[in-house]
């Protein structure tokens, strides 16, 4: 019941070493505009993948939870425009924001407690759309359509947060920690019960576990992950607007999870990198007026070729899954 096999650890360390040395190799835009952006949206996608891979829940509320953290940190931010009466230090605002997302995640879990499959999808979608519309129409807290701007983040080591290397390393560190956290948690009794719920919820209950409490805890943890991503996304976007949490944003993060593959947490980040690359460069490669068509076709191609995303594709191409499946890795649903 170890987290990863030895070869996994070696590979992970290798990938991490490459990522850590990226600032030496890549120009600034690639650092923050591609890799950094992939990491922070990948964190939100990770919260989807965590719920889907280990709990069997597809939640569309994760971008909303990221938004709750984003709005919380924006409302409390000392630099925010419009300035808030409740401004505090960033070092207090950030944990409060993540806490808010965690609690909101638990509430989502509570609301969706008895739903599965398409009904869970619908109820989380309704929550996401509802919150986005609320943020758009609420002026007092959320400043409506224009949102809250100039949320620049704290200074780190005397450097502004938006400094490319600072932003990149913070995102990388947090993404790596959350990734390991997911791998750890799914090996704990809590994580095992969660996977039991995925495979057979009635049997889990028969064994004496409280399924409802485990579901709520899983959504709270997913809220925690999404909240961490939401804070970084808000700093990256120098603020937050209802558009940051609207339908398009929600679908984008879902697309990242799906094209990466819902079978393993690493899929979230692979999907995020692919999405970011295509989103950034499609207009350069293809007709500017119709590049969305290209984006759509690429995603459609990936999903048709491999319903379990790029991960599944790799698995099938190498035949690696078959041999390894008995030991660990993800379970397709």
């Amino acid at each position: 019941m170890s987290l990863m096999s030895r070869s996994h650890w070696i590979l992970t360390a290798l990938v991490l070493a490459i990522l850590v040395s990226m600032p030496l190799l890549l120009p600034d835009f690639w650092l923050s505009g591609i890799l950094g952006r992939s990491l922070i949206y990948g964190i939100v996608a990770l919260s989807i993948t965590f719920l889907a891979s280990y709990g069997g829940f597809i939640s569309l509320a994760q971008t909303m939870l990221a938004g709750i953290a984003g709005y919380t940190v924006a409302i409390l931010a000392p630099t925010a425009i419009p300035a808030s009466a409740s401004a505090v230090s960033y070092w207090l605002a950030m944990p409060l924001a993540v806490l808010a997302a965690t609690l909101a995640g638990a509430v989502v879990g509570l609301i969706a407690i008895r739903t599965r499959d398409i009904y869970l999808l619908m109820i989380t979608l309704a929550l996401a759309v509802g919150f986005s519309l609320f943020a758009q129409s609420n002026i007092d807290w959320f400043n409506g359509y224009e949102g809250i701007r100039n949320v620049v983040g704290p200074d780190l080591f005397g450097l502004p947060f938006r400094t490319h290397a600072v932003f990149y390393y913070v995102s990388l560190t947090l993404a790596a920690l959350l990734y390991v956290l997911v791998l750890y948690v799914v090996r704990t009794p809590f994580g095992l019960v969660l996977q039991g719920i995925r495979d057979n919820p009635r049997r889990v209950a028969a064994l004496g576990y409280n399924v409802a409490v485990h579901r709520i805890a899983a959504f709270a943890m997913a809220g925690f992950i999404a909240g961490c991503g939401g804070v970084l996304i808000t700093f990256y976007n120098i603020g937050i607007t209802p558009g940051s949490i609207g339908m398009t944003a929600t679908v984008n993060v879902l697309v990242m999870s799906v094209i990466g593959g819902l079978g393993h947490p690493v899929g979230a980040f692979i999907g995020a990198v692919i999405f970011t690359l295509i989103d950034t460069f499609a207009a350069t490669i293809y007709d500017r007026d119709r590049f969305n068509t290209l984006i759509g076709l690429v995603f459609l191609g990936i999903v048709v070729a491999s319903p379990d995303g790029v991960l599944g594709l790799g698995k099938r191409l190498t035949g690696w899954g078959k041999r390894k499946d008995t030991e660990d890795g993800g379970t397709p649903h």
């Binding site: 019941m1 750890y184 009794p189 049997r203 409280n210 409490v213 379970t331």
Partner: protein, 266 residues
Amino acid sequence: MLDTTTRKGRTEAPGPKASMTPALVTENVARSFGALKAVSNVSITIAPGERRAILGPNGAGKTTLFNTICGDHPPTAGRILLFGEDITHLQPHRRARLGIGRTYQSSLLFDGLSVLENLYLAVRGAMPGRLSLWKAGHDDPALAKARRLAEQVRVDTIAQARIQSLSHGQRRQVEVGMALASDPRLLMLDEPAAGLSAAERPELVKLIRDLPRELTLILIEHDMDVALPNSDKVTVMKDGEVVVDSTPDRIADDPLVQAIYLGGEH
């Protein structure tokens, strides 16, 4: 009917009180689903440490009787006593904690988890502090117990394999292991040999035979070769009612049983 005296010498009773009282008593138990009477007027008494086989054609109400006992479908009439305690109206998990363990006809394991993880979950489910965010250490007693169970049901060599890669027979073994995880006083096995190949059966028979003798066992089984060598007494059901109560050596000659089994039921 009771055969407690012959057992007493060999049995280490679970408790002083239990040795005096029957392990399980059903008094006129009935269960209907709407107009359908799946089980009616079933009264059986099973002594501590006894091994009881329940035979009968499909639709005889055997599994429904199990469900009334474990609480998945509580009886609509009658009483159920477990070691003298009335459990007729208890929730399934309360009954499990009082010492009932069971397997299901169709496999209800966690396909995405390993054998050891399945057993570990079953062990922890019967322990306090079930929601934990700390990974099991090597000295975790629940993990140690899961390993012992794996040995007991002979799946210790494939403990790390995921359930979905297991053969049918291996899954059955894990099922028995999970039912044993809560240290039940009464273990109910629902057709453990169903669907097993001829090569897999002896392994399962041996496994059942090697279960601790103090464990009270009820076994639903079609296969006489599995059922008879493993039972002290045999109950035959048909159309929701008990039709014969007998011993294994006499059951094969019973005309009614012959009628049921030779009449094409299998």
